[in-house]
Symmetry: C2
Subunit: 374 residues, 2 copies
């Protein structure tokens, strides 16, 4: 069976559509990966996640290593069996979360020593331990261990951080390749760093290409620089990456971010936004986001979006969903999450179709004008 | 179409099995009604509630009158459309919740004046307003407005409370009957009170029968008296109720309570236990309740119950469910609720089958021995 193949079926400007073929299934690109942090895409049955159109989900190494523990997941048959998701899973390396969540972090050449935000227990995340954890989880796509360069960062700091990540990328490659049977069926992605500096992004890409990866992620964006700056960084970060491998923009983003990034050649995304902001009341629609807790919805018999195929829009009014959210009902989180994940997948499908038809620019213009009108 | 018919298909001692026929569907008895307090059976899609085997659910008048408001629900097409439950719904009268949740209550002959526990706004619940609210919600089974006699209560206090409830029962009957088109398709149940006093229970039953109701509920039990005292009260409370009408034991109960009460002639139940305690980690099984947060489950690949047909037992390990509960994940509440509601419905089906086969006593002996063994 094919371990990993990326087939581009159509291009349109810098954008392309195609599929990644792996042993656990195909991933249509451009792809949005719902986030299943703690072995669950929050408030969703896995079957319902698949029904939205998701081909692959993301799991978080940092969370899973702390609870329930990678060895435990491995003993229980791996993450797919544990959480009942038979399709591909990408796990991040833990590098981002350890910097944003862990306590008493200490970064050395070896890795990141830290204390768990849950119980204060001491841990070390290194290229070797991250690869080991992702192997124990049985991830289909493994991410190299990196340091997410903070924003803002002076160029010399961004360079030092990028160079550390590139040394860690080499060690990740070696550790992954030593993973035996898992390495023979999983894929490894490298992560480009370099902040908002074009020469660092190019240098990082060159080092990653020298090492060789199945796919290339763009790290260190969507960390506070704003959409305009992120898009400017994509202009010089994407073209230096290999054209024949998937390009994954980590942690992005809002619907308009996705469209702008696909236009610039991105193939994969993940973001907590549709799930997290769904739980707190933000519904995404083709006419922009709606705050479903707003009092103007309280007598509205219309669904969130009359044309949406999701279970929330099929059977429930805005008035009902607002009621559930105001009352703090779990079912409100369930319906909002189902809606938002469906919207995200429908947006990805619309972009795949538009690229296939050679009309992505027109689609993007129409989408962005309508989405941003309100 | 039949407004309301109760058909007893088989009897076994005091127990009976049959069906209630109403315009929105049939209710197999003995029946357990999942509680959908705020227009949602918490953490469940309505289709999933139906898939557990529930024929009817309960809505809470007190909660719904305060949020989102009965007029609003009526304007949106009624409770069934609002919450997407097409089958029968029983609404309570608000009498119990106003005593347990509302602030600054004042009981008069007219009714109960109180302030909302949500926003402090002043309201009055009376037989007339309770019937009006339940009509606006479009309940299929409407409960008479009563005072739930506290426990313990001296006999003279229990008498005064019961007599007030009986005067309110008469006013409920009149107000319900004035409900026009709704009265022509809904049913009204009276509620027997009288605490733990046999003569008061008999007198209450007599007054209710004089007024005439479609079904008869036993109120004022499961309020702290304990199972033994409750069962003792059922011995004299049930036989004084009409044999040809459904008997509904309100707010009960644990699985063994259900079995003991069916043995004594009860046809209908409601309780938050399977939903509420599911969310906090208690799983019901034929071998008794399990605390799914317990550390002994953390490496257990077995489902909660290998023979259970629910979605949790079909695809998830005890280890996974414990992980979700410990992590506070919504999906943990979803799986636990689905399991517990399935267990409750399977228990009811097993009792209906046992009554039909004339072997309820043997079933109950076996069930109780196994359930209480651990």
């Amino acid at each position: 069976m094919t371990r990993f193949a990326f087939t581009i079926e159509a291009s349109d400007g810098a954008a392309r559509t195609g599929r990644i073929t792996m042993q656990r299934g195909e991933i249509r690109t451009p792809a949005f990966m719902p986030v299943g942090t703690a072995a669950t895409v929050k408030a969703m049955y896995p079957e319902a996640v698949a029904a939205t159109g998701a081909d692959i989900i993301l799991g978080n190494t940092y969370h899973l290593m702390l609870r329930p523990g990678a060895e435990r997941v491995a003993a229980l048959g791996g993450l797919h069996k544990f959480m009942n998701w038979p399709g591909p899973i990408l796990t991040d390396s833990g590098g981002y979360q350890v910097m944003s969540l862990a306590k008493l972090r200490k970064i050395t050449e070896e890795g990141v020593a830290f204390q768990s935000h849950l119980d204060g227990e001491k841990h070390l995340l290194s290229p070797e331990s991250s690869m080991e954890i992702q192997r124990l989880l049985d991830a289909d796509i493994v991410m190299a261990f990196d340091e997410c360069t903070p924003y803002p960062a002076a160029q010399e700091d961004a360079r030092a951080s990028m160079e550390l990540s590139m040394r860690w990328a080499m060690r990740s490659r070696d550790a992954f390749d030593a993973g035996g049977e898992h390495a023979a069926r999983a894929a490894l992605f490298g992560i480009q760093q370099g902040g908002i500096y074009a020469d660092l992004r190019a240098e990082s890409a060159e080092k990653l290409i020298d090492i060789g990866f199945d796919g290339y992620a763009i790290g260190g964006l969507a960390v506070g620089e704003g959409q305009a700056e992120m898009l400017r960084a994509l202009e010089f970060s994407v073209p230096v990456l290999p054209a024949d491998a998937p390009r994954y923009l980590m942690g992005v983003g809002k619907p308009d971010d996705l469209v702008e990034a696909v236009l610039r050649g991105i193939d994969m995304f993940d973001c907590v936004l549709p799930t997290r902001s769904g739980r707190t009341g933000q519904a995404f629609t083709w006419d922009g986001p709606l705050n479903m807790k707003n009092a103007r919805h309280k007598d509205d018999p219309a669904p969130i979006d009359a044309e949406c195929r999701c279970p929330a829009c099929a059977s429930y009014s805005r008035a009902y969903i607002r009621h559930l959210l105001k009352a703090g009902e779990i079912f409100g989180a369930m319906l909002m999450t189902a809606h938002n994940l469906t919207f995200y997948q429908d947006l990805m499908q619309a972009m795949r179709d538009a690229i296939g038809a050679g009309r992505l620019t027109a689609f993007a213009d129409d989408f962005l004008a309508r989405y941003r009108r309100r």
